[in-house]
Symmetry: C2
Subunit: 95 residues, 2 copies
DNA sequence: AATATTGTTAAGCGTTACTTAACAGCCATA
DNA sequence: TATGGCTGTTAAGTAACGCTTAACAATATT
């Protein structure tokens, strides 16, 4: 029992946080990153790093954990989709 | 107001989860990774990836989020220690 | 004493996030 | 119409990181 739905890529969510009229170029000036970097994030071609989450948090007034956590969940789901080797649970001694 | 203490590296925490008598070599056989990989994680010379967190979860009977979340918090703290560019908060229109 | 096993370091490979340069598409203005 | 400035995306190059196998010194085993 865990994540069952493909979680949205953080870039998709980020899109919704940008004001309608705001261009990518404008946003990158505020965030002080290159246009390319933001473009790739928005298109799901790059992930959100810790540093990026700090920038987003400072700019959008959220917690950094929101963005980084989203990325984490996405990474996890991706990893879950790949065949995992069968690992036998460690037998712990009862306390 | 946020993280103020240097969070422990996930590898340090992982150490406490390994049974006293268990060798790194043994653990890596269970986890099906190389000795080097686990060694580096335990010594804080590598992070815990999504795939690794799944392995640990399967083996130790925890949620993967525990390990990946720990890594996330560590990454965030590291990023916070570096000088962040001053970003002016986005002025949102009142609803 | 010789051999095996431990954990770590070295070296190489593949992936990814970042940058700047280059590009095609759109819009304004001369 | 052309021309120049803007848009967002792609191309190319660099640096960092996680992973592997090979090699090593130190310790344990036979």
């Amino acid at each position: 029992m865990s994540r069952m739905h493909n979680p949205a890529h953080p870039g998709e969510v980020l899109r919704e946080w940008l004001p309608e009229n705001m261009t990518v170029t404008q946003a990158t000036k505020e965030l002080q990153i290159s246009r390319v970097t933001l473009s790739k994030v928005l298109n799901g071609k790059a992930g959100i790093t810790a540093g990026m989450s700090l920038r987003l948090a400072a700019w959008l007034g959220t917690s950094p954990d929101v963005w980084l956590g989203m990325q984490t969940q996405w990474d996890l789901w991706q990893a879950e989709q790949q065949p995992t080797p069968k690992i036998r649970p460690l037998e712990r001694l009862a306390a």
